[in-house]
């Protein structure tokens, strides 16, 4: 449904998005994950034909976002971050205008607006001015305007930002429901949200794709190794490290220094397949040292994210710069 090849966007000589390539299948919910300023919004704006890429190409439903921009826009519903709305219009008149602008046939408009308001639970506020609505309701109006033309593709930029937990769940359920029929791309910097809703996740940082996979696969990516923390008392430092390193499955051992402490705290990275905790404990006890602590650190999508989005300082400066210039 969406094909992106070598997408690059440069603002004032600063690349904001670099050489992005990915595809999204019909009926898929794709999560776009990255820290603020990673290039999520820029990519989404290219996909919605707001502006063209500097290099590369993107097609939506077979139409090029630059050459057939009107065709693309007919098929895409977009909800920008902090949805901009006409605060002096009522929900109903605003949605009617959007339906009109998106060329929904005149005789269907009224019915369609009614349906969409039902889907987004807006019916009871239909004749209220948008300016009087709460953040949660405005967010729903934003979603309603995106789906009023029944687009094949939905592009949602941070749809849950600024909502309370209950509203987040509501919006999330709504997105899941929409994803049954449509192709959805939605961006977020909240991991738990993406892993709950999306079938696939793209992690983007510094304008580049760091990983594309299902949430489960991404987690198992880090789960190949586990981190184990061991605190020992009484043994000579080199001897302890050597003993632990000799155990099958242990890949790396590092010592967490703490001045003047009689304890030796080790951070062990080991292969998940080999259960190393038992041999570690056995060896330490066997050497007659005191084993004070032994536990395995939990890993999650959070770790993948931190790993993949960690940038070198030069690149960090570059992206910060780019954001400053663009805003």
């Amino acid at each position: 449904m969406i094909v992106v090849e070598g997408l690059t966007k440069v603002f004032n000589d600063v690349p904001v998005v670099k050489d992005l390539s990915f595809t999204v299948e019909q009926g898929e919910i794709l999560g776009f994950l990255g820290p603020n300023g990673a290039g999520k919004t820029t990519t989404m704006r290219i996909l919605t034909s707001y502006f063209p890429p500097t290099e590369g190409r993107a097609t939506v439903a077979g139409f090029d976002v630059v050459q057939d921009s009107i065709e693309v826009r007919k098929r895409v519903g977009y909800m920008p971050e902090n949805v901009p709305l006409y605060t002096d219009m009522t929900v109903r008149s605003y949605l009617s205008f959007v339906a009109d602008a998106k060329s929904v046939p005149a005789r269907e408009q009224k019915k369609r607006v009614g349906e969409v308001m039902d889907e987004c639970s807006l019916s009871e506020r239909a004749d209220d001015q948008i300016g009087t609505l709460s953040k949660g309701f405005r967010q729903r109006v934003g979603l309603a305007q995106a789906i009023v033309s029944r687009p094949q593709v939905l592009v949602l930029d941070e749809p849950t930002v600024g909502l309370d937990p209950r509203q987040i769940v509501e919006i999330r359920n709504l997105i899941t429901r929409l994803g049954e029929k449509n192709t959805v791309i939605f961006s977020s910097h909240i991991l738990s949200e993406v892993s709950k809703v999306c079938s696939r996740v793209i992690i983007i940082a510094g304008g580049r794709i760091r990983a594309i996979d299902t949430p489960e696969n991404l987690e198992s990516l880090v789960r190949k190794t586990v981190q184990i923390v061991v605190t020992v008392q009484g043994g000579p430092r080199e001897k302890v490290v050597e003993t632990v390193r000799a155990i099958k499955g242990v890949e790396r051992v590092s010592v967490e220094e703490s001045e003047g402490s009689p304890h030796l705290r080790l951070l062990i990275e080991a292969n998940r397949e080999d259960e190393v905790r038992a041999p570690i404990a056995a060896k330490i006890v066997h050497a007659q040292w005191l084993l004070l602590e032994l536990h395995q650190r939990a890993t999650s999508l959070e770790d993948v994210f931190m790993d993949l989005t960690a940038k070198d300082p030069a690149e960090q400066a570059e992206t910060t710069n780019a954001i400053g210039e663009v805003k």
């Binding site: 603002f11 826009r73 901009p84 959007v98 602008a101």
Partner: protein, 266 residues
């Protein structure tokens, strides 16, 4: 385009602005019309050949309108794009299946409709007067035509100032300033009258004099009101029609370029 047009018309009609314009304007127009009619009566005493249509229609639609439109078009034009930019809604509009030209035309047509209705509402006064005397209708029609053309030109300027800034206030002030500059061209002409191409000065002054003369010539030619005079006499001059249309086309094109600049500026 019509979706944008309908939305803008709705916004105009639901806000008090259009209604205040219409009411205040019509009251003032009625008063001006009456005053001019009185003046015509006075003039008739000394000069029996004085032309009723030119005095009343030319006076009411000519002198009086100029002043009001100078105030009105910046106020009508200022919100067209500046408001959308201020609220951020322009970003969404650009992702709807609408071209930049559809946006521009939808918006300028709505502003033209509001002012057009205003012009149409002045017509009953002439019809009423026509019941009692013979009016030279062609002069009235060409004056209206002149007004529509002048409005297209001024609203195009207004829509452009509205597109270049995020603030409605700045947009209004900018277009008012530009209009005043063009409007007062006639007043300022004597200032520059001596600055012509054949002024005798030492050779090293020549380039400056030519530049000055070029500016004076351009300033005179660009004066918006200068081109209006012939319409008030019942003459449709192709030159003037083309002037207003190219004036409008120029500013609409600048607006288009400004809207399009997001593609490379972000």
């Amino acid at each position: 385009m019509w979706a944008i047009y309908r939305k803008e018309m709705r916004a105009f009609l639901l806000s008090p602005m259009a209604w205040i314009f219409w009411c205040v304007f019509l009251i003032l127009f009625g008063l001006a019309f009456n005053t001019l009619f009185e003046r015509y009566n006075d003039m008739l005493m000394s000069n029996p050949d004085v032309n009723l249509t030119e005095t009343v229609a030319g006076g009411a639609l000519g002198g009086f309108f100029k002043f009001l439109l100078l105030l009105m078009t910046p106020l009508l034009g200022m919100r067209l794009f500046a408001e959308e930019k201020e609220k951020g809604t322009l970003e969404l509009l650009f992702t709807y299946p609408l071209t930049e030209w559809q946006l521009i035309f939808g918006k300028i047509l709505s502003a033209l409709t509001v002012t057009g209705i205003l012009l149409a509402l002045t017509l009953p006064q002439f019809i009423y007067l026509g019941n009692y005397t013979t009016l030279e209708w062609p002069i009235i029609w060409t004056t209206y035509l002149g007004w529509m053309l002048l409005l297209v030109a001024l609203l195009s300027l207004g829509i452009w100032t509205s597109a270049v800034t995020n603030s409605q206030f700045v947009a209004a002030v900018l277009s008012l300033a530009l209009m005043l500059l063009m409007w007062l061209s006639q007043v300022f002409q004597p200032l520059f009258a001596r600055l012509t191409f054949d002024v005798q000065v030492p050779w090293f002054w020549k380039p400056f004099v030519w530049l000055g003369a070029l500016f004076t010539w351009a300033y005179k030619e660009l004066a918006v009101t200068e081109h209006f005079e012939s319409f008030g006499r019942g003459v449709i001059n192709t030159n003037d029609v083309l002037y207003y249309l190219s004036f409008a086309a120029f500013f609409l094109f600048l607006t288009y370029k400004k809207l399009e600049s997001r593609k490379w500026r972000g």
